[in-house]
Symmetry: C2
Subunit: 203 residues, 2 copies
DNA sequence: TAGATTGTTAATCGATTAACAATC
DNA sequence: TAGATTGTTAATCGATTAACAATC
């Protein structure tokens, strides 16, 4: 109960806003400013902070740099994290080039694919054959994977990741995958997300 | 209360599974099968169905084709929906080529971009100049948009969409956007999603 | 019938919101 | 001081889970 999934997600969003504030040299911020930005209420903001023992000053709000430092610590943003992507198709490439991963401590260490024509050892990050995944992951101590392959290959890729020592994954294949309890998987089903937009606009 | 966001999302997932079942000619399905597939409980499945007046047969479960037909009706899957994408970068192109949109009644009618070099009227869907968005959307009666542009252009694109008559959007720009109350916006922040995977694997 | 399954009502759980005391 | 803000405790709300009746 103490730490809910949703408040963690909001902490990341607050952090985003704080970074923007810091860039324009803002020193203080009120819970109400934070709330407005991410589209919630100031009560929710203070509640979230309360859960994680983040405190400000009555009347003066929160110090941007101080709060940011605490959030970085709390969210483990001080360590660099290596990530591998399996599937060098459109989604894989989009993520490879996604701005802002790197400065957030997320390093796309390599892409992997089944298709030989896509291999490119010289690229940064390199595009490697799927056979190299196991060795790469274990020798580079990678803990995070992204699955961007077609449905029929997804479970196989996940199993390979797990056996290689990966502990959490983001999955774009629109099919539920089986994983052990201690493995964290974040399913992103873009089709369902789009379908739900359609549904809500029709109501 | 009657219709919760989460149960709607699950209805789409049940539907996915039912389509797969239909393809392998399965006739009947139990709530427990549905639950296993999407990773929930049979109680939840029956509760969801109960909310939407979907019923089966005691002992015999649900008829796949019948249930599918009812879900299609409920979720408005019988009408084709046109969608426009603004931003012909990696994410835009990934979505353009995303398998399965079309057969789900989602038609990517056109992409729009600010960059002249990306224009391609001959492509299917065509890649058009952003100046054409307003006219295209209103004359084709498009109700759904996808925002796949950098942060600094996102709000401007959304405003343009709204003025052209779009009613709901999926937004990939990692920044909160302002929209009127009757406009539905689904924010997909891939960086935050990935960061949360990192967070949970570290615990 | 006995066993298995649906479907609804009630109970629980968790997250959000409200109320308000503390204090700068 | 008065006004504005934080931070915690209590109340509400919504979603999930449990219990159980109905019935094939």
């Amino acid at each position: 109960m103490k730490t809910s999934k949703q408040s963690i997600l909001r902490l990341f969003q607050y952090r985003d806003f704080l970074i923007r504030l810091k860039n324009i040299n803002t020193v203080n911020v009120f819970s109400d400013n934070l709330a407005k930005d991410i589209g919630t209420t100031s009560i929710q903001v203070r509640k979230d902070f309360s859960l994680f023992r983040l405190s400000g000053n009555k009347k003066a709000g929160y110090k941007v740099s101080n709060l940011l430092k605490q959030l970085d610590e709390l969210l483990g943003k001080n360590k660099k994290q290596k990530v591998v992507i399996v599937g060098a198709g459109n989604i894989g490439k989009a993520l490879m080039q996604y701005d802002g991963f790197y400065k957030e401590g997320l390093e796309i260490a390599a892409l992997f694919d089944y298709d030989r024509r896509k291999y490119n050892h010289k690229n940064n990050p390199p595009v490697l054959p799927i056979e190299d995944l196991f060795k790469f992951v274990s020798s580079n101590n990678v803990k995070i994977g992204i699955i961007a392959v077609p449905c029929k290959a997804a479970q196989q890729v996940l199993d390979l990741m797990i056996s290689a020592g990966i502990k959490g994954a983001m999955n774009f294949a629109p099919i539920p995958l089986k994983s052990p309890k201690n493995f964290y998987i974040n399913n992103i089903n873009l089709r369902v997300e789009l379908e739900s937009v359609v549904y809500y606009t029709q109501m």
